[in-house]
């Protein structure tokens, strides 16, 4: 009975590992928690098989569970470190090797039979192992890694607040309780007797229950997914245990079990797909309403100047001013109208790109002189750059640049968006618009000394409505459409690409290439 329960617990762990795997190993902490659970699965499974197998084979299962436990603790430490600090950076090979060295040593001393297992015997209550001096090394490894990991987790836990804290509470409680139980029954008690070695894994039930509770309580996943996973898990458990009940039709049962795994996999995957789609739609809806807020505010800003100025003309107060000053007001109305039409154009383009993959209008494609186009963009943006005291340059490194086949209207929009951004997100310094050509391609670069794009935002910068964290802080009413539109337009050219290099607080360089 104990043995069967052990096997069930190991399956429960495997199930939780699968759950996390399906959910996506989004960050390193998740990834290492997954590995920890996989190792735990092998550990408990080994323990179960140790009790169940013949006397001769028991020693091999013991070797398996000691090695698995060693890896389990190591991955748990990794998990805790990444959990505490996501920005721990890249760990190089040497450091990985160093962290893994206790595992390697454990494998060697176990396989070489080097004073780890001193004596292996059959007692009235079952198989028993007497541990040798090398076991102290193992204990040191486990205790130190575990201690440090728990320390890191608690540290992180104390630093978070709000909803994250309530979510973490159960995970932290479950994991730590399980760890302490496992340490007591599987690490220290075996010094005296091996009889109770099976109790440790039972504490893992606490962990699994706590984590599952945290997940369901806080709606981290849809109830549909959970239900399908529980059903599949239950079915697999029954089939798995059935394999060991008696020896009839062993292979048949194994095949059924494997087929069930396969079917379960596809079932859970399809449910996941559905849940993901729903999440995606919800996200889009939220983005849409945010966009409406932003768009209405962006439209109102120039409209309020146009309306305000016109109202003063109507009331007659501007008419009393000298001619020169009156001209300035008319100029303002004109500039704000241009801006307004630009915003309307962006919004329309974005919804146009929304419905289908954008393509350039066939009939209007013609050779475009990039030099003329870039100089026009520069001239149009000059006033804004001057207002902020920024230097705006056009630099051409070659006398003659091949024309490219494009549509002037869209291409201007694509590059002007990037120059606009450069001006918007540069506080001081310069913006260079560069044009160059080599044997294969024409290259346009827009380089600024602005705030740069934070690393964590780089991957989504071309997405619709996406804005970098520092851009949001700096300039609250951007629409997040500029780069999305630029990319759609550039991608619609045959053999053209757009990419960027950026460093936060140093600047950004956009590189657009057109094959000639």
């Amino acid at each position: 009975m104990i043995t069967l329960t052990l096997l069930l617990i190991s399956l429960l762990n495997g199930g939780l590992a699968a759950l996390i795997f399906f959910r996506g190993l989004k960050n390193k902490a998740n990834f290492f928690f997954f590995l920890t659970l996989v190792a735990t699965f092998f550990w408990i499974f080994g323990l179960g098989m140790f009790r169940m197998s013949s006397f001769e084979n028991g020693i091999y299962w013991a070797t398996l569970f000691y090695i698995s436990a060693s890896f389990c603790i190591t991955y748990f430490l990794y998990f805790a470190l990444f959990f505490d600090n996501k920005n721990i950076g890249k760990i190089n090979f040497l450091n990985h090797l160093l962290i893994h060295s206790p595992n390697i040593i454990t494998i060697i001393i176990l396989l070489a039979n080097f004073h780890f297992i001193k004596d292996y015997s059959l007692e009235p209550w079952g198989k028993s192992i007497k541990l040798g001096p090398a076991y102290f090394f193992y204990v040191t490894h486990i205790v130190s890694y575990m201690g440090y990991a728990i320390f890191a987790i608690i540290k992180r836990f104390r630093n978070v607040s709000g909803i994250e804290k309530t979510q973490l509470k159960f995970i932290v409680f479950g994991t730590i309780t399980a760890s302490i139980f496992a340490l007591a029954f599987n690490l220290f008690l075996p010094f005296y007797t091996y009889q109770f070695v099976w109790i440790g894994p039972y504490s893992l039930i606490i962990m699994v229950v706590a984590i599952t509770y945290a997940i369901t309580k806080h709606h981290l996943m849809g109830i549909k997914t959970i239900t399908s996973e529980i059903l599949v898990g239950l079915l697999l458990s029954i089939l798995f245990v059935n394999i060991f009940f008696n020896d009839n039709n062993l292979w048949f049962k194994i095949i059924i079990f494997l087929v069930a795994i396969l079917i379960g996999y596809f079932l859970i995957r399809s449910v996941f797909k559905e849940v993901r789609q729903r999440e995606h739609i919800e996200k889009l809806m939220k983005m849409r309403s945010e966009f409406l807020d932003i768009a209405s505010h962006q439209l109102k800003t120039p409209i309020s100047v146009i309306m305000g100025t016109a109202s003063m003309f109507r009331e007659g107060s501007i008419g009393k001013l000298p001619k020169e000053q009156q001209k300035k007001f008319v100029e303002n109305i004109y500039r704000k109208s241009v801006k307004l039409s630009g915003i309307v154009r962006d919004i329309l383009s974005a919804s146009e790109f929304d419905t289908e993959k954008f393509s350039l209008p066939e009939g209007r494609l013609e050779p475009v002189d990039l030099e003329k186009l870039l100089i026009k963009i520069k001239d149009d943006s000059k006033e804004e750059a001057d207002e902020k005291g920024l230097e705006l340059n056009f630099i051409k490194t070659r006398a003659k640049i091949s024309p490219i086949i494009s549509d002037e209207f869209y291409l201007t929009q694509a590059i002007a968006n990037i120059v606009d951004n450069a001006i918007k997100y540069t506080k001081a310094g310069r913006i260079d618009i560069m044009l160059d050509e080599d044997e294969k391609e024409v290259i346009v670069k827009v380089k600024d000394t602005g705030v740069g794009i934070p690393n964590e935002d780089k991957s989504r910068m071309f997405g619709k409505f996406e804005r970098a964290r520092n851009a949001r802080d700096m300039y609250t009413d951007g629409s997040g459409l500029g780069l999305f539109i630029s990319k759609e337009i550039i991608d619609a050219h045959s053999e053209a690409s757009i990419k960027f290099n950026s460093e936060e607080n140093k600047g950004t360089e956009f590189i657009i290439t057109f094959q000639t």
């Binding site: 807020d293 305000g308 100025t309 107060s317 007001f329």
Partner: protein, 126 residues
């Protein structure tokens, strides 16, 4: 004549309101961002502050919170003049101590002057 401080980060808006207030005999000064606005409020003792909400360096919300926290500036009446949505922000701003919440596309500059004058007269400020 009453002194008005306009905290607003759009140059075109500043030009507009400067012109209309000056033509109507007011003394108007302005600040291009929230931080400068707080300094000028402290140092120049305006009779009234007209505050925009959506500003780059420091939001209008933060500005009014700080104005109302500082004993030197907490008695200066503040009027919000913005493009932000009235339905969403008005009650919050009035709670923070603003006198009125005016939308730029609804209350035109000549009306802003008129309403400011009425407010000052009603409260017997200069």
């Amino acid at each position: 004549m009453a002194k008005i401080l306009l905290i607003e980060d759009d140059n075109d808006q500043i030009l507009l309101y400067h012109t209309v207030f000056k033509m109507n005999g007011f003394n108007i000064i302005s600040a291009i961002d929230g931080k400068i606005g707080l300094d000028r409020a402290k140092n120049e003792h305006p009779d009234l502050i007209i505050l925009d909400l959506n500003m780059e360096e420091m939001s209008g919300e933060e500005v009014i919170k700080r104005l109302k926290k500082n004993p030197e500036t907490k008695n200066i009446p503040v009027i919000i003049l913005t493009n932000m949505d009235k339905r969403k922000f008005q009650s919050q701003m009035l709670e923070l101590g603003a006198e009125y919440f005016w939308e730029k596309t609804v209350v035109m500059p000549p009306d802003v002057v008129k309403k400011v004058r009425d407010f000052l007269e009603k409260n017997k400020i200069k």
